[in-house]
Symmetry: C2
Subunit: 126 residues, 2 copies
């Protein structure tokens, strides 16, 4: 199947891409792979995320039906986030992407170094 060649603002796959392709969503879904995890536990997995950003991210994932929020009435209250079947179904494509990053990390790093070097050369000669 060919990919979409014109990404209008109404292109449905574009809209969906925008929902899942942000800074934290992929990582959150990955953390939940093996079962429900509590809020602060997720937070500990994602170095650098603020509680606010994580809350927003989880709300969005919940709204899109990828993640399920379950409140466990206790004192203090516990909240667990788990993948829905829909969220589970997103893991295989994510893993494909993950494997790509592993396989090609070195090449990307090399390209980066090379690019920065050429930039520096251009800057000096100017």
């Amino acid at each position: 199947m060919p990919l979409c060649q014109h990404f209008s603002v109404d292109c449905p796959s574009r809209k969906l891409f925008e929902q899942i392709a942000d800074k934290w969503s992929m990582m959150v879904l990955t953390v939940l792979e093996h079962g429900p995890v509590r809020f602060n536990a997720i937070k500990r997995h994602l170095e650098g995320v603020t509680q606010k950003s994580l809350t927003q991210c989880l709300r969005k994932l919940e709204r899109n039906g990828l993640v399920e929020r379950q409140v466990i009435p206790a004192s203090p209250v516990a909240v667990e986030y788990g993948l829905t079947p829909l969220g589970q179904s997103l893991l295989p494509p994510f893993k494909a992407l993950y494997l790509w990053t592993i396989d090609n990390m070195a090449q990307v790093d090399a390209a980066r170094t090379d690019f920065d070097l050429r930039q520096e050369e251009a800057r000096v000669s100017a």
Copy 2:
């Protein structure tokens, strides 16, 4: 292979995710699938992108070695962007993700409507 379970800021796959998982990169790479495309042609494919954002995006892709920039000396000058072999290698995982969006669009939409409805109910009863 299990996915990374702790995404430190130094996690290499995290760093790579951040480079490719932004608003325009996926779409740009997709547009270049069948061969080099000129700047304004890419722009026409991506409704809503400004020239500034597109330039930034292309620079990043170039720096990461996914895209190649070729200046064709003419008057006025022409610039073509094409996929490198590395960029090509990213298309299959992207397609997997694309197929997922096609397959699950309806479910996501339904989940969204449902979520918004429940939110509205909660708001009213409060």
